[in-house]
């Protein structure tokens, strides 16, 4: 088990956790009003997308990993 595999595993697991948390928080906040809450919603959405991207990178779907 090499370092890269651990990193990927970490990215996948943590990516799932963070993604779920981000989207759950977005769902909870969906009806919040006020300027700052609108901004929070946008940022939570992007955060969730970021978590998904990291997860996909961990799964080697996107991004580049050297062989071995």
């Amino acid at each position: 088990m090499n370092a890269a595999l651990i990193e990927r595993l970490g990215a996948v697991i943590a990516g799932i956790v963070v993604g779920v948390v981000a989207f759950y928080a977005l769902y909870k906040d969906w009806h919040a009003t006020g300027v700052e809450n609108q901004v929070f919603k946008l940022m939570l959405l992007l955060l969730g997308i970021g978590a998904i991207l990291a997860l996909l990178a961990g799964l080697n779907v996107v991004g580049f990993a050297p062989k071995g």
Binding site: G50, G58, P66
Partner: protein
């Protein structure tokens, strides 16, 4: 907004001055983030422009960036965004201790991200001989953008540390906590910028 979270002045009256001042600060802070965003956007434009200037990417002699560690490190930063969000939520609902723990967790994760970035820089500079000035447009755009972002994270970590100290000293009350809101906005902003940088440097 419930009655309990209204800002009160020392006589127990609703503090109209605070409400209006907070509005100004919120707008001002959001506009500051907008202009900061433009700063990043300009450098991202520069990076994409150079990347497409016809020499191929990555430029000859430079390895493509390895995504594995970066993915893990990104998740660390994204996680800190989630903890920061819950820190603010808990503060709003009056769970002061849980707020403090979430805030500390955010600081630890943010510092962890910086450590990870330092590790990656070391690897690139000493392992692959990629430097800021000596590796053509790759070194220029990569180190400038990630370095700028790292500087923002560092400032954010410092700011959050100040928040911890201020909160412990009781500066923020149920109705008056704009400092924490601003901190959360800033931290989310730094996270979201990293989503973009991560995508364009490691995934594209």
């Amino acid at each position: 907004m419930t009655a309990a979270s209204l800002p009160l002045d020392s006589h127990g009256n609703v503090d109209q001055l605070y409400i209006e001042t907070r509005e100004l600060r919120l707008q001002g802070f959001l506009l500051f983030l907008v202009s900061d965003c433009v700063l990043f956007a300009s450098f991202i434009f520069a990076y994409l422009y150079l990347r497409n200037s016809g020499q191929g990417w990555p430029p000859p002699g430079i390895q493509r960036l390895d995504v594995a560690f970066a993915a893990w490190n990104s998740v660390v930063l994204f996680g800190s965004g989630a903890t920061m969000h819950y820190a603010l939520e808990n503060f709003k609902h009056g769970n002061f201790m849980r707020y403090m723990w979430f805030l500390l967790a955010t600081i630890v994760l943010g510092a962890g991200f910086l450590g990870g970035q330092a590790y990656e820089y070391t690897h690139l500079i000493y392992g692959e001989h990629v430097t800021w000035w000596g590796s053509g447009i790759f070194g220029a755009s990569f180190f400038t953008l990630t370095g700028m972002h790292g500087m923002h994270v560092f400032i954010g970590v410092c700011y959050l540390t100040v928040l911890v100290l201020q909160s412990a000293a009781g500066v923020y009350t149920r109705g008056k906590f704009f400092g924490i809101t601003a901190g959360t906005l800033y931290w989310h902003f730094v996270d979201v910028i990293w989503v973009v940088l991560f995508s364009i440097f490691y995934l594209l």
